[in-house]
């Protein structure tokens, strides 16, 4: 979908929220839901930052690190991709206290989601780096660059552009996964919606509003990533420099 269609959907979703809120007494749900949405955004942002950091470290270790670190990176990726996000959150939330480690729910949320999405991200980063044509590496050899110089100045900048669309998808996955933190007592958008529903039983408007809010956030991420891709490409053509 082009940026225009996406923006149109975004506007439609916002209008949808306004309309649903305008019916009857539904507006009374808005403040609570917005507070929940704010917490959702905070968890998502911090989680995404952690995910990107973990993914980059894991990918670079896997590609260029010494054997033990490479093994560590592989284990991290396979482990967090292989287990369920909710199980990971529950494990951090319920099991660690058994060992005397108790963390704030916010920390648990960010850690669990960040590590989880970071593992998927590691494969995205690795794929993007490996997708850069061999000729680019050979050109750096011909110009007598060290491997690190080549990575830093030539390979990674190109890999960065290639990574943006898949990372966009991962960020949205993380955003959706924040709903899970409602199950470890965090008062995010999903938690608020559920609580409001428990009290008032006005299920349809409440959950519709919540869904529309998630949609709005999701579209903001997608549009943002598209713009980022456009800005980073700066003279390059889609698919250029990649195998």
């Amino acid at each position: 979908m082009g940026i225009i269609s996406l923006s149109a959907m975004l506007v439609a979703a916002l209008i949808g929220i306004a309309i649903v809120a305008g019916i009857g007494e539904n507006a009374v749900f808005i403040p609570g839901l917005l507070q929940g949405a704010w917490l959702t955004v905070q968890i998502a942002v911090v989680g995404c930052i952690l995910a990107v950091v973990m993914a980059t470290i894991a990918a670079l270790l896997r590609l260029y690190g010494p054997a033990p670190l490479r093994w560590l990176a592989v284990t991290y990726v396979e482990f967090f991709r292989g287990t369920s996000a909710l199980v990971q959150l529950f494990w951090l939330f319920y099991v660690l206290p058994d060992f005397g480690i108790s963390m704030e729910p916010f920390t648990v949320a960010v850690l669990g989601l960040g590590l989880n999405v970071g593992a998927y991200g590691a494969e995205v980063v690795r794929g993007a780096i490996q997708g850069i044509q061999r000729g680019q590496w050979e050109a750096t050899t011909a110009l007598n660059m060290t491997r690190w110089q080549a990575l830093r100045r030539i390979i990674l900048p190109q890999a960065f552009v290639a990574m943006i669309p898949p990372w966009g998808n991962l960020f949205i996955e993380l955003l959706k996964s924040t709903a899970l933190v409602s199950l470890i007592t965090m008062t995010d958008l999903t938690f608020r919606a559920k609580t409001l529903n428990d009290y008032s039983f006005k299920t349809i408007p409440i959950f519709t509003l919540a869904l529309l809010m998630y949609l709005v956030l999701s579209l903001i991420v997608t549009i943002g990533m598209r713009r980022l891709e456009k800005v980073s490409m700066r003279g390059m053509v889609r698919g250029q420099g990649r195998t």
Binding site: M9, V87, F90, Y94, V95, A179, L180, L183, Y214
Partner: protein, 219 residues
């Protein structure tokens, strides 16, 4: 203590029983998702209005959390007079959610079939149904099987969401054991390990399948 084997052996039968629920939920949801996904993919390709509405629906479901969709169905359906137990409601929600993912995969597979194949069918005067069933689908499906397989594994890993509406699958079982015995370590770890093992085995299986399919097809 770090680990109690006694507790572990007590927990295993309960978790084993719950794992059956997990597996049932996974397989049922996936089968429905596969069929529904194909329907959605076809709808998307048929006509401007129907196509647009279907696209909007699919995007909406894909962009919002499955958990809310599960809550929505669980709490809304009774109001419409349809009383379903948590398991059924949960299955429906997961099926619809993953049907939308699958529809994207089907769409990619269908679009990858060269235009010329469709045109040859028109030239040979084959009916739409025949074209689809005998020519297009057999070419579209094999390349996307690994992607569908990945979604099967993903669905399996999302069944714990059903614990939020008290379906007694593995994670819910672990939680109950934890609450009863004031200790979560053993049950949660067991469940985690089961997920990990099944996930790794399936991933290997999908890779094997992918290699077999690639060998057969002419690329």
């Amino acid at each position: 203590m770090i680990w109690s084997w006694n507790y572990t052996f007590e927990a295993l039968p309960i978790i084993a029983k719950a794992s059956i629920v997990t597996i049932e939920a996974t397989l049922l949801s996936f089968v429905i998702a596969l069929v529904l996904g194909l329907v959605l993919a076809i709808l998307r390709m048929s006509g401007p209005t129907v196509g647009w509405v279907t696209s909007a629906f699919v995007e909406f479901i894909r962009s919002t959390p499955a958990l809310i969709q599960i809550f929505f169905l669980f709490f809304v359906l009774p109001k419409a007079g349809i009383v379903l137990d948590a398991f059924t409601a949960g299955i429906i929600a997961l099926s619809v959610h993953y049907a939308c993912y699958c529809s994207e995969v089907y769409r990619a597979g269908l679009e990858a079939v060269p235009r010329g194949q469709w045109e040859a069918c028109t030239a040979l005067n084959l009916s739409s149904w025949n074209t689809f069933k005998n020519i297009i689908l057999p070419q579209a499906i094999p390349p996307i099987v690994p992607a569908l397989g990945n979604y099967l594994v993903a669905l399996f890993k999302e069944t714990p969401l059903l614990s939020a509406i008290a379906v007694l699958e593995m994670v819910q079982a672990a939680k109950s054991l934890g609450t009863e015995n004031f200790r979560y370590t053993e049950p949660m770890t067991i469940v985690g390990v089961i997920f990990l093992v099944i996930s790794l085995v399936s991933a290997a299986g999908i890779r094997w399948l992918e290699q077999r399919l690639n060998r057969r097809s002419v690329r």
